[in-house]
């Protein structure tokens, strides 16, 4: 990659940007590979948050294996109480702790390096990190000691130990503080004029994610604080329908943070692996704005077969809110591969329709993770999500395995895989350590993608036979009647197990190689990272 100038060409109307940034003396280093400025305080917290993300990914990953082996009918590993306990742990450690620690790391990196700024506050970064970590540990302590067998949704009147709600609140407030620190950084960068004109596209995407995060976390506070007080018997039980409405204001929108963050990572990886640049920045940015504007009430699609909310409300909120966000994703789904196509064609891979695609750097794990993530998210996650979220179609999908089948192709095959690809650059560039066993690294994205895709497809098929999610035994032992699912459904559940095992292997390879690189990897300080 060529060296990157941070400031634009000075424009007549504006004073030139402060190319040196606003860093105190000695608090910045220049990246040996890209020439980008790296704020040392931010770097420390990028590392801390990223390491914790991977730790919780491991907890969630071991849980995933146990779940997969329990839902595989001929294995049926866990006893009933531990199945639900581990399911609760998996949802929280993956969807909340792994993803959000990683996102805070991304925000700190983007806010400082891409905007050429120092991190606004070291104290806030520390407070945020400490609260998030305490919260996550508290939640895990409660779950693993059996005091919170309530699933990550903790739908009232299910009731957990107060420590569980407290942990979630601590984590959420900690995240909010991290996001505020990010906005403060964006503010001082603007104030100190460390860059020229508009912010870079990746930073724009990150800002979009952060704005959605604030709205999300406020919903989290509105719903978790009454639940916490109720668990202490200080107030009466919150209404079940009200709880679901506000909880999904948290639960759904946090998925939009993930999408916005993932798309930003796509732009980042597309650029760094192939030199791609967007065809039209106005289009890309406009699509991010659609995310911010239209996502907040799309959480309605979790309540499509609920009592108490009417058809008009359901249809209205699904259509205008969701489909303009869908439009945004469809736009990114074009602009991202188009930018790669253009870059590859310019390099001379101009043969036929797909010559550029075959010539792409498939051996580079940053590229393969990004492109597989794009394909899985678009072809599987997007299509299933919009269909299942259609008001009436939800009748034949709600709470069946079609739902986990869908979101394991969005937040896992999409977001998590993209974040893995990101790590293949973050570790050499920020930790300044090289990955070992590079052949293994090159196949990791393929293994993980294959496992998750198999599992998710099998879940979707099983779900269309009616197999429920969050369910320990589809033989219904001890029940007065047996629904007796189709043999094909049982076969699909076997494939769920196989896919889960393959995905787990992919996940474990990622974690082991990354932990090895971070702690024992060859240092590359003083020179460029070894190209993939």
């Amino acid at each position: 990659m060529s060296t990157i100038a941070i400031a634009g060409t000075p424009q007549a109307s504006e004073p030139p940007a402060n190319v040196a940034g606003n860093h105190p003396a000695g608090a910045v280093r220049k990246c040996d590979t890209t020439g980008l400025p790296v704020c040392k305080t931010a770097e420390r917290y990028v590392k801390l948050n990223a390491v914790m993300a991977v730790v919780f990914l491991l907890v969630g990953g071991v849980s995933a294996l146990l779940l997969g082996l329990t839902r595989w009918p001929s294995v049926h590993l866990l006893p009933v109480d531990w199945f639900y306990r581990i399911l609760t742990a998996h949802g929280l450690n993956m969807l909340i702790f792994w993803i959000i620690f990683m996102e805070v790391a991304i925000l700190y990196f983007v806010g400082t390096t891409l905007l050429n700024s120092r991190l606004a506050s070291k104290a806030l970064a520390f407070t945020s990190f400490a609260m998030m970590l305490t919260g996550a540990l508290l939640v895990n302590a409660m779950v693993f000691t059996g005091r919170a067998d309530v699933m990550m949704t903790s739908y009232v009147p299910l009731r957990a130990h107060p420590g569980f709600y407290l942990g979630v609140i601590l984590f959420a407030v900690g995240t909010l503080i991290g996001v505020i620190n990010f906005f403060a950084t964006v503010y001082i960068a603007k104030r100190d004029h460390t860059y020229e004109g508009s912010v870079p596209l990746v930073a724009f995407g990150a800002i979009a994610a952060a704005i959605i995060a604030v709205v999300t976390l406020l919903h989290g506070a509105i719903v978790m604080i009454p639940a916490f007080l109720w668990s202490l018997d200080l107030i009466g039980q919150p209404d079940a329908a009200w709880y679901r409405l506000v909880w999904w204001g948290l639960g759904h929108q946090s998925q939009q943070i993930n999408v916005a963050a993932m798309v930003s990572v796509w732009y980042f990886l597309a650029h760094i692996t192939t030199g791609a640049k967007p065809l039209n920045q106005a289009v890309c940015r406009g699509a991010f704005v659609l995310y911010i504007l239209f996502i907040n009430i799309a959480s309605a699609h979790h309540l499509l077969v609920d009592p108490g909310v009417g058809a008009t409300w359901k249809i209205w909120n699904t259509s205008y809110a969701m489909y303009l966000a869908v439009l945004a994703s469809m736009i990114h789904g074009f602009t991202v591969p188009a930018s790669v196509e253009l870059a590859m064609r310019k390099k001379g891979f101009d043969k036929g329709l797909f010559g550029w695609l075959f010539a792409a750097p498939w051996r580079n794990p940053g590229f393969s993770a990004f492109f597989l993530s794009l394909v899985i998210f678009g072809f599987l996650g997007g299509i299933t999500g919009v269909t299942l979220g259609t008001q009436q179609i939800n009748i034949i999908a709600h709470n069946t395995l079609r739902i986990p089948g869908h979101f394991h192709t969005t937040v896992v095959g999409g977001t998590s895989l993209a974040f893995m690809g990101l790590c293949y650059y973050v570790v050499p560039l920020v930790f300044r350590r090289e990955y070992a066993w590079r052949g293994l690294v090159r196949v990791q994205p393929y293994v993980f993608a294959a496992g998750i895709t198999l599992m998710a497809l099998a879940m979707s098929f099983a779900g269309s036979y009616g197999v429920p999610r969050r369910h320990w035994d589809i033989e219904f032992s001890g029940a007065p009647f047996s629904p007796g699912f189709d043999a094909a459904a049982h076969f699909m559940m076997g494939l769920v197990g196989v896919g889960a095992v393959v995905a787990f292997i992919g996940l474990l390879v990622f974690i082991l190689l990354t932990v090895h690189a971070v702690f024992l990897g060859r240092s590359n300080e003083g020179r460029a990272m070894t190209a993939w």
């Binding site: 634009g8 591969p337 196509e341 550029w356 072809f379």
Partner: protein, 45 residues
């Protein structure tokens, strides 16, 4: 610098267009197959 950011005059991306149209077709197929499946179940309001 401006070399990097110069607006692309002639950006032809036919491969991507084919891929996305493929996406649209699979989308439509899956979407309407689901309406069909819905039409086959009991009536409910």
């Amino acid at each position: 610098m401006s070399e990097e950011n110069r607006p692309e005059e002639n950006h032809k991306t036919p491969g991507t267009l084919v891929l996305t149209i493929l996406l649209l077709l699979s989308f439509a197929l899956y979407y309407f197959a689901n309406w069909k499946a819905l039409a086959d179940v009991w009536h409910v309001r």
